[in-house]
């Protein structure tokens, strides 16, 4: 296994491979939109996404600044994501749409599944590979490495993984890209970079 790149984003900043990238001022409430603007992207679907999908999308775009993700065959990249709160933030907004605002909102409902973000990444990048979304109590490097090994042994050559969380207390995404060939101590590197 080889660690190819990481991106950690939250309102505290964006960190590409451990180094801060100036993409938004940390005191902005709407930091994700500012980040999108400063990345000079033209992808209108971004504005419809929920918080989880926005963070996964932005992190992927930031990693692309240093890694050419188009080099992977469209079937060989696996997407493995996890969090603790599932789609909690959007679930509460959807309930609010029919309990308070008068009618259930279809555009919110479609985001009440955490794996929608893998669909957004697949659409953006034309990735037809395998996907899985796990609900975990906390970020667990060993669990991710175990899953990555399963997919490598089944024929995948690269895994784009992410811990992406959105709840009342916390909004963060830690994305990491791992290739099959190589012998690195990824566990320690990831543990350090996640805590950043």
């Amino acid at each position: 296994m080889k660690l190819i790149g990481t991106c950690k984003i939250s309102k505290n900043g964006a960190f590409l491979n451990g180094k801060e990238v100036e993409l938004f001022s940390s005191d902005t409430e709407n930091w994700k939109k500012e980040c999108y603007t400063n990345l000079n992207l033209d992808y209108s679907k971004f504005h419809k996404m929920d918080s989880l999908a926005k963070m996964a999308f932005l992190s992927t775009e930031i990693i692309k600044k240093e890694v050419d993700l188009s080099k992977y065959d469209e079937n060989e990249l696996t997407l493995l994501f996890a969090n603790n709160s599932s789609s909690l933030t959007t679930d509460l907004k959807f309930i609010n749409s029919y309990e308070v605002k008068g009618s259930p909102s279809p555009s919110l409902f479609v985001y009440t599944l955490p794996n929608i973000l893998t669909g957004e990444l697949a659409i953006r990048n034309k990735w037809y590979g395998e996907n899985c979304f796990f609900i975990e109590e906390k970020f667990d490097v060993e669990f991710f490495l175990e899953q990555i090994n399963f997919y490598f042994s089944k024929g995948s050559n690269a895994c784009l993984c992410g811990w992406v969380e959105s709840n009342k207390k916390n909004e963060e995404c830690f994305l990491f890209l791992i290739e099959k060939n190589g012998k690195e101590n990824i566990k320690e590197q990831l543990t350090t970079l996640y805590k950043q």
Binding site: N75, S85, S86, L117, G119, E120, N131, I135, F150, K154
Partner: protein
């Protein structure tokens, strides 16, 4: 792989369910005031569940069935891993974490030694969970993998599908010309995967499985069946079987126009147009995270009894590709079967099972 437990609107174990299906019983019935505007939507509701605490009650009951059938030792072992498939888990716990009660109930009821793996990947969760269970066994770290799929009815989910205009106002008719949409249902299904046979019950061999994204749309299927086509091809390759070795397909078949049409295109592209298939959504409704499990269990019952169940609600071909949807129950021995699923987020998954001779 063998039977764990199965609780649906038409039965509280796999034998009861299969008998009811042979009688062409459907668990889908009109539920008063279930819609946002007090419509009476047809839903697959388990009538014995209480109005409050539905999820926890169903999960506890499913666990009790597992231990009464298999004993506690198999679950309370450090060589056992449990994998749960659910899209929404316990929505009654909102605004708190909706998945924590799942871990608590499983630990209390099954006395587990290892961490619980939870997969929430929309309607393909169940099939992916079985594929993941097979990965754990192949890694040789575990001797047993238990997969539990569960979702229950809620205003949240019914109002959501209603808002998308995806609900049918009559019991759903997958693949039929006059299909009108989905009927939502609730269920629990569990299977046990092991390296060796664990009892005298019927067992099947898991040959391979995979998933693939359509890379097309988050809430609508690909017009070309791209992800389903790719997933089935990958599963066939991993299972080392050819499409003409497949004797039967347990399809997804939700009863929506776009989904069922997409599946017919994918099966045609795969050379599976003449292969007998059914959708079981007419018996149970679409039970989301439980669907993959209860459909695999029902398919195992068909393999055990050499009887293919008709696709309830299907009368006349309603897809552009004339796939072989079963109109009547059929006595036929089948050896190798394909299970497929497709869902929101562009996900598609499949797996291949073989009868143990």
């Amino acid at each position: 792989m063998t039977y764990g437990s199965m609780i649906t609107p038409i039965g509280s174990n796999s034998v009861e369910n299969f008998s009811a299906m042979l009688r062409e019983e459907s668990g889908v019935d009109f539920v008063e005031n279930s819609g946002f505007n007090n419509e009476n939507w047809p839903l697959g509701k388990i009538k014995s569940l209480p109005n409050k605490n539905r999820y926890n009650t169903l999960l506890t009951e499913g666990c009790k069935q597992l231990t009464s059938k298999h004993g506690k030792e198999i679950f309370d072992s450090d060589e056992t891993i449990v994998i749960v498939s659910s899209t929404k888990a316990n929505l009654e716990d909102l605004p708190n974490d909706t998945f924590s009660s799942t871990r608590n109930i499983l630990t209390d009821e099954l006395g587990l030694k290892n961490k619980i793996v939870i997969i929430s990947n929309a309607c393909i969760s169940g099939v992916i969970a079985i594929n993941t269970a097979a990965d754990y066994l192949q890694s040789n770290r575990y001797k047993t993998a238990v997969v539990i799929g569960i979702d229950v009815l809620s205003d949240f989910v019914v109002y959501g599908f209603q808002s998308l205009f995806a609900l049918s106002n009559e019991p759903s008719k997958p693949f039929d010309k006059n299909r009108k949409g989905i009927c939502i249902g609730e269920a629990l299904g569990a299977v046990i995967l092991t390296k060796e046979k664990i009892n005298d019950d019927f067992h099947v061999e898991y040959l391979g499985g995979s998933s693939s994204n359509d890379a097309n749309h988050i809430s609508g299927p690909s017009r070309t069946g791209e992800g389903l086509f790719r997933s089935v091809n990958k599963s066939l390759e991993r299972a080392s079987v050819k499409s003409n070795d497949i004797d039967f397909i347990s399809a997804h078949g939700t009863g929506t126009n776009y989904n069922d049409e997409m599946e017919s295109i994918a099966f045609d592209r795969l050379g599976l147009i003449a292969t007998p298939l059914n959708s079981l959504k007419g018996y149970f409704g679409h039970t989301l995270g439980a669907a993959g499990l209860i459909e695999v269990i029902s398919t195992m019952k068909m393999m055990e009894n050499n009887t293919l169940l008709k696709s309830v609600g299907f009368e006349e071909t309603g897809t552009s590709r004339p796939i072989n949807v079963l109109k009547n129950n059929l006595n036929k021995e089948i050896t190798t079967v394909l299970k497929t699923a497709s869902g929101f987020g562009g996900g598609n998954a499949s797996l291949i099972l073989k009868k143990v001779q």
